[in-house]
């Protein structure tokens, strides 16, 4: 009766299977490459949402600076791609060939030292995983060891996002400024702009997504996942049960940062550029709402929530942009007021009971992890 599923319980496995069919079969067959690429773009945000489930939904740590990590990952990847696109042959009209075009415009005559390692793809990938983790570790250690939490943490992460945006925009010789790093073309000689490449990248991304989903599920179902929930409820109790609360928070924050960073790196590959507009406060908060719409405690909900909100955004904004903003605002309010558990909550409270009544199948462990999400967390 008390065997923990290591990754997922039955209903979650079912959800993962449905998601796999949707992403791997239905969408690729029914959408053209342009729309599929849009889906790929949305999915990159769902990595951030996954991280937020761990750190905010489970751990109660609301970060309004996830865009920072998305941006860090994206920039690491963009730096590699930009260097590849800025070969001496491609940039011979510049006064200094062989460096990215925006550096040339800003009178840089030499590649800055911190750009040099990004000639290597391996280094770029390692950087995508490690740099955000280190940054999150520093920020997290400084804050959680000092017991900064809740609202204060949210506001400070916001300030960090603001600082980084100003820095990136201001240091345009090194970062591309407000334009970001644009016009990325090839990955190891493989043109990432073609339809064929987009198609393959989509599947690569879905693969990464499932790896991350499994990793998140593993964390969620480990004792660490339960400690995170416990911490959100009664931080002191966890502390007086002999755990270092700060370390667990740092871990959750770092995990969320790495997930966001992977999303950012994939975003750069899918979309072909990276811009500081992701680092700011607005996208960071929007990503929180994707998580909330999906159900802040539900890993699969985060993916579905991201897909649904973005699909709605695209289709609405194509016809009624004004209405869309009102709709997004109303969605924020409605989710918070009426559906604090988001789609996952609606599914569990309204749909699943009916399905169960329909099938009348006994379900000993389907409810296993559900009680955790029974009510809105009281911060």
């Amino acid at each position: 009766m008390f065997d923990t599923p290591r990754f997922a319980n039955r209903s979650e496995l079912l959800g993962i299977a449905v998601l796999a069919v949707l992403l791997l079969v239905i969408l690729p067959l029914s959408l053209d490459v342009f729309r599929l690429n849009l889906v790929a773009k949305y999915l990159t945000y769902s990595f951030v949402a996954l991280g937020l489930v761990l750190c905010w939904g489970c751990g109660g740590i609301l970060s309004l600076g996830q865009g920072v990590f998305f941006g860090l990952g994206g920039y690491c990847m963009a730096m590699f791609l930009k260097l590849e696109a800025s070969s001496a042959a491609n940039t011979k009209i510049q006064s200094t060939p062989g460096i990215p075009d925006f550096m040339d415009w800003n009178q840089l005559t030499e590649l800055p030292f911190f750009w040099k390692p990004f000639h290597s793809l391996t280094f770029a990938i390692v950087a995508v995983l490690v740099i955000p983790a280190i940054f999150a570790l520093i920020v997290g250690a400084a804050m959680f060891k000092r017991r900064v939490g809740g609202v204060y943490f949210a506001i400070i992460t916001q300030a960090i996002a603001a600082i980084l945006t100003i820095l990136i925009v201001g240091q345009q010789g090194y970062t591309g400024g407000i334009n970001g790093i644009t016009d990325l073309r090839t990955l190891k000689g493989w043109d990432i702009r073609t339809d064929h490449a987009k198609f393959i990248l989509y599947f690569v991304e879905v693969g990464c997504l499932f790896v991350c989903i499994f990793a998140a599920q593993f964390i969620r179902h480990s004792k660490l996942g339960r400690i995170l929930v416990a911490m959100r409820d009664k931080e002191d109790r966890v502390r007086f049960s002999g755990y270092s609360v700060a370390n667990f928070k740092i871990f959750a924050f770092c995990a969320a940062a790495v997930l966001a960073s992977i999303g950012g790196a994939l975003f750069t590959l899918e979309v072909g550029f990276m811009s500081p507009s992701f680092v700011g406060i607005v996208p960071s908060i929007e990503m929180v709402i994707y998580t909330a719409v999906g159900g802040r405690m539900s890993i699969l909900g985060a993916v579905y929530g991201t897909l649904i909100v973005n699909a709605a955004k695209t289709s609405f904004s194509e016809s009624f942009p004004q209405l869309w903003l009102l709709g997004l605002g109303a969605l924020f309010i409605a989710v918070v007021l009426a559906f604090p558990n988001g789609l996952a909550g609606i599914w569990r409270d309204l749909i699943q009971p009916r399905l169960d009544r329909f099938s009348r199948s006994p379900k000993p462990d389907a409810q296993w992890s559900q009680p955790m999400a029974d009510k809105a967390p009281a911060e």
Partner: protein
């Protein structure tokens, strides 16, 4: 009370402990000692600083001055989780359990293994864990509630659950803050019985208002008043102490 440092091996030695909140000394130059296997009850009127003393021992509040030694180890410099790992368990006044987790999970989290981040990540719910949880659950009358969300327990059951969570930690010093407050009479009896069973092999520090309950369990009573020790000794001697009578009746 003089700070005569006897070379006896006390389990807990609190000496010259002081803490002030914006000038108000909630605990003022307090000293007392707890023996191995002793049940000590702290009583005193409201605002005497009882809970603050427990907070100080378990590290929730940092002392302004003074020392707290546990088995010769200075606690005032340690972090809360290190104090717990040194062998001190604390139950809070209001039941402090994880509402969103099941009873089983509540107990499991307190199981003293896999307390580091990676330990928790790789923690395996093996048979040792399961047996221990079952055993403790039986002790705290919650054996048939293991799968239930803790939120749904009654108030008394929540108190027991928290005591259970401490038991599974197996601390050398157990600190209980008003363990029977808000309980029905029958629950109270069961709790006294429970406490009497679990104190074997450890020391207990209890804050309680219920005099009947205190008389039932106390080896020794310390009376606090305005952050200082007013009297200390057996229940009878304390009850006969005119200063104590004055403080209690005066309020």
């Amino acid at each position: 009370m003089p700070i005569g440092h006897l070379q006896k091996d006390f389990l807990l030695a609190v000496e010259g402990l002081t803490v002030s909140f914006d000038g108000f000394k909630a605990v003022n130059n307090l000293s007392f000692y707890v023996d191995e296997n002793e049940i000590r009850v702290i009583i005193g009127p409201n605002g005497a600083g009882k809970t603050t003393v427990l907070d100080l021992i378990c590290g929730k509040t940092k002392a302004s001055s003074g020392s707290i030694q546990f088995r010769g180890k200075e606690l005032t410099k340690l972090k809360e989780n290190d104090i717990v790992q040194a062998g001190i368990g604390r139950k809070f006044q209001t039941p402090s359990i994880y509402d969103d987790l099941t009873v089983f999970e509540n107990l499991e989290i307190s199981y003293p293994r896999g307390r580091s981040v990676f330990g928790a990540l790789t923690f395996n719910r093996d048979s040792a864990v399961r047996e221990r949880v079952q055993e403790v659950a039986e002790m705290v009358f919650l054996k048939d509630r293991l799968g239930m969300t803790a939120d749904l327990l009654s108030h008394g059951q929540k108190q027991w659950l928290e005591i259970g969570m401490l038991l599974i930690q197996d601390p050398d010093l157990l600190m209980l803050d008003e363990p029977v407050a808000g309980m029905s009479v029958s629950e109270r009896v069961k709790t006294a019985e429970l406490l009497n069973r679990i104190i074997k092999g450890r020391s207990v520090l209890v804050i309680e208002h219920d005099m009947k309950f205190v008389e039932d369990i106390a080896h020794k009573v310390t009376v606090l008043h305005q952050g200082q020790v007013l009297a200390e000794g057996s229940m009878e001697s304390v009850k006969a102490n005119p200063k104590v009578v004055e403080v209690y009746l005066g309020h």
